[in-house]
């Protein structure tokens, strides 16, 4: 009976580990879908392919939410990692926030359909690509918090660097937009999207900032 309980505990732990891994997989996946959807939007505008990506993003977000709830309930029900539970919960919420931002931005593009002149497409693609790299790096830091605490710092450093790169790209793109001959309302509309995409990198940076604090707390 007791032996079974022990086996169950380690078995249960493994299942929860898998759920956490899948949760982070979904974040990475959401980033990749976002990047492709932005590329399609810039090239073709809102069409069937874009809508497919939007649906895919919605499904990812929904699965990711379900995983977050299940992990949360498991951590509480089995009183796991009592000293770090609150930190892990906050980390999961923050990560979930990033996926929500991906989805929300795709929805905004689909609804508002801003007209982005071709001269700014490369800048948008670069910004989206850097933001995705930044999020992927933050996800690696979050995974490392569970698996290899020493690596958190390395991934965090990379995330912070990429966030700063995204800021630079965002500023450069905004300068270019406001230097153009476009009417002010279009300039402001395009600026809105540049800022929303850049915000995703800021969110990733906030996540690794918190992670570094949790890591210091976890140190024995």
């Amino acid at each position: 009976m007791y032996l079974r309980k022990i086996t169950h505990l380690f078995g249960g732990t493994r299942a929860l580990e898998d759920q956490i891994e899948e949760f982070f997989d979904k974040v990475t996946e959401a980033g990749l879908v976002f990047e492709k959807a932005v590329a399609i939007y810039l090239a073709e505008g809102v069409n069937g392919t874009y809508d497919d990506f939007l649906d895919q993003e919605r499904e990812i977000e929904s699965r990711e939410d379900a995983l977050r709830r299940s992990i949360k309930s498991d951590l509480f029900a089995r009183t796991l990692i009592p000293d770090l539970r609150a930190d892990v919960m906050t980390m999961l919420e923050d990560t979930d926030g990033i996926v929500n931002m991906f989805q929300a931005n795709l929805f905004r593009l689909s609804i508002q359909q801003p007209e982005i002149p071709a001269e700014f497409h490369a800048g948008f693609r670069d910004l989206a690509e850097t933001v995705i790299k930044c999020v992927e790096s933050a996800v690696l830091a979050a995974r490392a918090f569970f698996r290899d605490m020493r690596a958190v710092r390395d991934h965090a450093t990379r995330t912070i660097f990429l966030e700063s790169e995204a800021d630079k790209l965002s500023t450069r793109l905004q300068r270019a937009v406001f230097s153009s001959d476009l009417p002010l309302e279009r300039k402001m509309h395009i600026r809105y999207f540049i800022e929303r995409i850049d915000d995703i990198a800021n969110e990733a940076e906030d996540l690794v900032d918190s992670l570094q604090i949790y890591t210091i707390k976890r140190r024995d």
Binding site: L9, V88, R218, D220
Partner: protein
Amino acid sequence: MDLATLLLLSSGLFLGWSLGANDAANVFGAAVGTRMIRFFTAAFVCSVFIIAGAVVSGAGAADTLGRLGTVDRQAGAFTCALAAGFTVYYMTKWGLPVSTSQAIVGAIVGWNLFSGSPTDTATFVTIVSTWVLCPVLAGVIAVPLFVATRRFLHWANLHLLRADALTRYALLFAGAFGAYSLGANNIANVMGVFVEVSPFAALSLHGGYTLTSAQQLFLLGAIAIAVGVVTYSKRVMFTVGSGIVPMSPVAAWAVVIAHSIVLFVFASEGLERLLATHGLPTIPLVPVSSSQAIVGAVIGLGLMRGGRDIDWRLVRNIGFGWFTTPIIAGLVCFTALFFVQNVFDQPVYREKRFSMSIEVLNRLGESTIVTEELAALKDREFAGAAAFLDAFRERADASAAAERRALALSEVGDFRIDEAHIYRIEEGRLSPHQIEAIEELAGARFRYRWVFAEALAAHTDEWAYLPDSPFNKRYNKQLRRQLEYMFRHFDRQNDRRRTGSGP
């Protein structure tokens, strides 16, 4: 067990209950306080292992307390445990650092002073030095243990959840080991004073295993500790878990293991035998303070981190407690013994008489120089060890060991081996060969304990001590208890004192 026995042991059981209520937090406080282990699981494991430790390994430390002072009347033992219990209760209430081990030692010394029995200085010094050694040793063990565990965990690089699961089991194991060590080491505090006046006879169990009289006492004391754990330790555990220095689970594990090792080392007869087998010096088996071992381990880790977080006031208070606790307990015990004896009219110690006959002087001459002055004490009778020792010291410049020997040889009684008393020997106390030897002595009368003991040993080896060594310690201890029982059982002087008639 009748009501009188329960009443007699009640002070010890109270002491056990308070020990369980307070000290279980030392072994499971961090785990339960941080909710790594549920209270129910902790209380169950703690109770089981405290009982196991007390029954299996509790004898060693209890024997040392017995050497400090042999409380030879049930009312005396009751009063000692009560005095220690009250000292612990009130000092805790007043927020003073207190240890049951120090309180019971103070109470025994108080009994020695009241009864005029000499306190074995060597044993007293050994006990006091272990009080200082206990937290120091715990600190010294905790540091490398913590460093090694941390390195292992870094090397193993486990997933956070797997490390969490492992930590739970490690804390459960540490708690179980801690509870076993606590039972083995601290049962002496709870029941040690009752060992010589135990109301229980040995109990034969299935499979040829015998539960000695002391083990039955320890079982009862351990159950009292377990009741303390289940009924009252929860609040203390949550206070300890969140109140002391904030510790990581790994640090908490190292602290509990270091504490457990120290308590185990000071309680294990098996370890003593193992060290002796390899020609290594043995460690004294002494009841030490569980709380002070924990504090020592925490301070050890604090020093490792530079010593900034250490509450030096707590360290000073512990040192202060080494002096105040035994003194207060001794005074309380002395006063309580006075009341129990004079107000409640209960004998709290056996009145001992000493006299040096020619045979005593001859026997003493084998190891000590018997001067003419000392020989002048021949056949003079002294009431109490103190009076005898005063006279002895005036006439002989002997070592403490020689004094102890003179005292042991000179104690007189009136041992009459008659059929009626042989018939009334409690079942399970003695072996068939031992009883045969007594039957062969039927009709004999002895004045000295040692002459009686030698007469028994002449009939069977089962009445003879084995050479003094850690290997024979358990056998000799059992034999000593059996002889003490025989002396009490056949001593008519005792009967006369009990009935109040003069010699």
